[in-house]
């Protein structure tokens, strides 16, 4: 059942190769396996398969991945709706958003594959946040403002979770590889939000609308590991040079207005 879920859509020959390779990798060690499989997209299905074969993803790891999946569901649906025919006109930036939308959909699929039956279902979203952003899917400025906040929050969220998946090399590396893609998105969208668009990095704690300010609180720090960065550059540069993590609780609070609470069971 698990195998069907993860590898069901793949070419049988490919599955055969993957499974054979997995068995070989067991003997050479988990992390060596990660490296050997680095360039194989199917590695992630394999990873999940291996984890299940060993008794399932650890509950705490699955929990972190479901947290990530929630954010990817949010981003993916946001772009899908915003880029739908008749929705937001993003003008010449359309190829940028199409690429972002493609990646977010791929992230959803990837995390679903890794989680297998443990994957949570997509929540119901309200991108107006209860009316705060009523023109989100008709006004390009609002759309881009929210896109920037979602991407920057995504970067901070993945960063904050890295230490919690450190015990699983494959999961950590996968998360890092998503994290840097979110950062690329964030930089490109940030330039679209400026006129003229220059900086792709966060200066201080930004100057977002009040409703989005929690996405940037803490970004202004100029000390890392107790080392004062002001000895090496300006406060602006020191804050730009390091992106700060958010805790899961902080991220949950940021996205809560965009998620429709589940009705209580009848």
């Amino acid at each position: 059942m698990t195998e069907q879920t993860i590898l069901g859509g793949l070419d049988p020959d490919l599955i055969d190769r993957v499974v054979t390779r997995r068995d070989a990798l067991r003997q050479t060690g988990q992390r060596a396996g990660l490296l050997a499989l680095a360039s194989m997209p199917v590695a992630f299905g394999l990873m999940a398969k291996k984890a299940f074969a060993q008794g399932g993803l650890p509950a705490d790891i699955a929990d972190v991945l479901n947290f990530a999946l929630t954010l990817e569901y949010l981003e993916s649906e946001f772009y899908m709706l915003g880029l739908a025919p008749g929705a937001v006109d993003v003008g010449v930036a359309r190829p940028i958003f199409d690429q972002i939308s493609l990646h977010e959909a791929a992230h959803v699929l990837l995390l679903q594959q890794i989680l297998g039956p443990l994957a949570i279902l997509k929540p119901t979203f309200d991108f107006t946040a209860g009316g705060a952003f009523n023109d989100v899917f008709s006004n390009a400025t609002t759309f881009i403002t929210l896109a920037q906040a979602f991407e920057d929050t995504g970067v901070r969220a993945y960063k904050g979770q890295a230490p919690f998946v450190q015990s699983q090399a494959e999961v950590l590396t996968t998360a890092l590889r998503i994290h840097s893609v979110e950062a690329r998105h964030a930089a490109a969208v940030r330039r679209l939000a400026q006129s003229p668009g220059v900086k792709g990095w966060i200066t201080g704690n930004d100057s977002a609308p009040v409703a989005l300010q929690p996405s940037y609180l803490g970004e202004e720090i100029t000390t890392q590991l107790g080392i004062d960065l002001l000895a090496f550059g300006t406060a602006a540069a020191a804050s730009e040079a390091f992106d700060e993590p958010l805790t899961r609780e902080e991220v949950d609070a940021i996205v809560a207005p965009f998620i429709v609470p589940e009705p209580p069971p009848a």
Partner: protein
């Protein structure tokens, strides 16, 4: 002095006998001088005249391939070839061959191996720059060319092991990036726009902060400043500068992505995460400057469209790509691999 020498020689003799009794090799440190002795039982210091293969050694005809120069933290290997009076190579071992190291690296351990084929291999690893002197004797008499002089210069930058090694690895890459953007900003290509000047200046400032932060975090375990060489980069050409910048940023992103799992400390992992997303922002902005309003900022050449995953590279994949730009040799052999 004579007393000390006598004591030393007695000690040597004892060790030689000990070596015969126990193993084929021994080495010792002796008040700032290092000595290695190779000897075994039934040695040629007591040739058996009835054995036709047991040709007596002639120290004055025996040779050693001592390198004239060496680098710090790189093992020096010296092979002594025992020869007979007629210059023919001996093909049996068992002579008492002694190497004594004095000078800058006196006190470093010398290891010795009697290959039992007429060759004796000594190794030591100098740690400081300067001049070393090696006296090599067989059965108490100096071999041809002894004493030898080894001039020790700066060896490769040793990244080190564990988290320190990974941080030094990042420090090396940040040094490269900071040097590159310093050169770019120092003399912009003709036709540079205000936007491009701002972007390159910002990135230079970020990379300098990354570099100095890592240097401070590493403290006395930081590798030295690396000598870089951007030969092949035309700093007067927008294309050349942008292409190189994008190459460095994408390489940096992939390097951090592929080094995370090598880090033990959660704090260091988080700091690496704080840096890598900024490198990814740099890459995206530079790519967007090169190909505005296209998918290039996160192009399919770096983000696999099927999985939405960015490239990652392990250190052995990254360093050869950085190598053309770094003059100083880097020793990454102690980096963790898991």
């Amino acid at each position: 002095m004579i007393d000390r020498l006598t004591t030393g020689l007695r000690e040597l003799d004892f060790l030689a006998r000990l070596a015969r009794a126990t193993s084929r090799r021994t080495f010792l440190q002796w008040s700032g001088v290092s000595i290695a002795v190779a000897t075994v039982g039934c040695g040629d210091d007591n040739p058996d005249p009835t054995d036709p293969t047991d040709t007596p050694v002639s120290p004055g005809n025996s040779t050693a391939n001592v390198p004239g120069t060496a680098g710090t933290n790189v093992p020096v290997e010296i092979t002594v070839q025992a020869r007979a009076a007629d210059d023919t190579n001996l093909n049996t071992g068992g002579d008492t061959v002694v190497a004594t190291l004095t000078g800058a690296n006196a006190g470093q351990t010398i290891r010795v191996e009697d290959r039992a084929n007429g060759r004796y291999v000594f190794t030591y690893t100098p740690t400081v720059e300067g001049t070393d002197t090696l006296n090599i004797t067989i059965n108490g008499s100096p071999i041809a060319g002894s004493p030898f002089t080894v001039t020790v210069g700066a060896g490769p930058a040793q990244l080190g092991s564990g988290d320190i090694g990974v941080l030094n690895y990042a420090y090396a890459l940040e040094q490269l990036e900071a040097a590159f953007y310093t050169a770019v900003v120092g003399a912009f290509y003709v036709g540079v726009t205000a936007e491009e000047q701002q972007v390159f200046t910002d990135i230079r400032d970020h990379e300098i902060i990354h570099r100095e932060f890592l240097k401070a975090a590493l403290g006395d375990q930081a590798i030295p400043a690396l000598q870089v060489d951007f030969v092949g980069v035309d700093f007067t050409s927008r294309d050349s500068v942008l292409n190189t910048a994008i190459t460095f940023e994408d390489l940096g992103v992939s390097a951090y992505n592929g080094a995370g799992f090598l880090i033990d400390s959660p704090d260091f992992l988080t700091v690496a995460g704080k840096i890598v997303s900024v490198e990814a922002r740099h890459a995206a902005v530079l790519r967007d400057i090169q190909s505005p309003n296209t998918a290039a900022f996160a192009g399919d050449d770096t983000v696999d469209p099927a999985s939405g995953l960015d490239v990652f590279r392990i250190p052995t994949q990254v360093l050869p790509l950085a190598d053309p730009f770094i003059v100083t040799a880097i020793d990454a052999s102690q980096l963790p691999t898991t």
